[in-house]
C-alpha cells in the first residue's frame, strides 16, 4: 500500500498510474451558472463530429470516478457549495478545466448580485479555455494541453490546496 516514495515498486506503480491517467482521463462536467452555451459545446465535443472520446476522455456521471472537472460559467451563490462538494469528492490527483469567458473572469455577468466570482476564486484551476463559448476544437485543445502537461509531469496547479476562508 504505502510504498516508499523512492522505492522501485512505487516508481513502477506511478508509471502505470500516469499511463492510465493520460490515456483514459474521466471527466465530469458541472455547470456552475453558465448560459448553456459552453455546455452544449462540451456536449458537441463528445458527439461524432468532434468525438473527444478518441483521446480516451469519457464524460462521467459521478465525481468519485472522475479525474478532470470541467466547469462552465461564473459561480453563483447557490452552486458554489455544490461545486466545492464535487471538487472535494473527487479522488486525488484532480484537475480542473475552466471553460468559457464567464468561468475565466465572470464575463458578461460580473457584478451581478448572485455571482460569487470566477471559478479560480473558488477552486484551483489547471487549464483555462477562453471563448464565449469556446469552439469544440478549443475544448479539445485545452484537454490535450492538460494531458500533455501530465506527460511532461509538470502539470500546472495540480492539487493546490483550496484556500480556507475563500470568498463566500
Amino acid at each position: 500500500m504505502d510504498g516508499q516514495a523512492g522505492s522501485p515498486w512505487q516508481q513502477a506503480l506511478d508509471k502505470v498510474r500516469d499511463w492510465a491517467r493520460i490515456n483514459s482521463p474521466w471527466a465530469i462536467h458541472y455547470n456552475s451558472g453558465s448560459c448553456n452555451g459552453c455546455d452544449i459545446e462540451i456536449m458537441a465535443t463528445l458527439t461524432p463530429r468532434y468525438d473527444l472520446e478518441r483521446f480516451g476522455v469519457k464524460l462521467q456521471g459521478s465525481p468519485r470516478h472522475a479525474d478532470i472537472l470541467i466547469v462552465t460559467g461564473p459561480v453563483t451563490r447557490l452552486s458554489r457549495e455544490r461545486l466545492l462538494r464535487i471538487y472535494d469528492q473527487m479522488p486525488n490527483p484532480k484537475f480542473v478545466i475552466a471553460c468559457g469567458s464567464c468561468g475565466l473572469s465572470g464575463g458578461a455577468f460580473r457584478g451581478c448580485y448572485n455571482i460569487v466570482g470566477d471559478i479560480s476564486e473558488v477552486i484551483p484551476v489547471s487549464v483555462y479555455i477562453p471563448g464565449c463559448p469556446p469552439r469544440p476544437e478549443a475544448i479539445i485543445y485545452g484537454v490535450v494541453q492538460l494531458l500533455e502537461s501530465l506527460k511532461r509531469r509538470n502539470a500546472p496547479a495540480v492539487n493546490l490546496p483550496r484556500q480556507e476562508g475563500a470568498p463566500a
Binding site: 453563483t76 451563490r77 447557490l78 465572470g106 460580473r110 457584478g111 448580485y113 448572485n114 455571482i115 460569487v116 466570482g117 476564486e121 470568498p167 463566500a168
Partner: protein, 169 residues
Amino acid sequence: MDTSTALEKAAAILQPWALATATPEPNRLDVVIERGSLIPAVKALVKARWGFFSALTGLDQPPSGDGEPVREGCVEVLYHFCSAAAVVTLRVSVPYSDAKIDSICEVIPSATLYERELIEMFGVECTGTPNTERLLLSDDWPEGVYPLRKSFTGFQQAEGQEANHGSAA
C-alpha cells in the same frame, strides 16, 4: 377574434373592478384594480376563458426622494394575460408597509412558480400560495433583502463580502 374585439371583451369582463384603464399600445389593456378584487377579476377572466396567464411582473416604486411630493414606497404587481396578440395587464399596488397580496393559485395552480419568484425578489407576501420555499436565491440569502427592489444595490451593504472578490478588482 381580432385584437381590438378581444380587448373590448376583456374590458367588459373586468369593468366591475377597474379603478382605471389605459391602452398604452394598440394591443394592450392595462387595468388598475384594488388588491381585494384581484381574485374575482382573475376568476372572471379564467371563467370567460379569456387567454392564458402568461407572466407576473413586479415593479418596484421606491419612496420619493427629497423635494418630491411624499409618496410611500410600493411594489406594483402586474398580472399579464395573453390572448393571441392581445395582452391584458392587471395592475395591483401594494405598499412596503403592508406588502401582501392574495395568491391566485386557487384559480391558476401553475402561478405558484411566479409567486415564489415575486416573494423572493420583491418581498411581497402571497397569502395562500402552496409553497413558499426558496426558489431562486441561495439558502444562505439574508432575510429581508430583496434583490429587485431599487434600494438593493449589491452586497457591500448586505454582508460586506463583496470587497473580497468582486467590485474592488
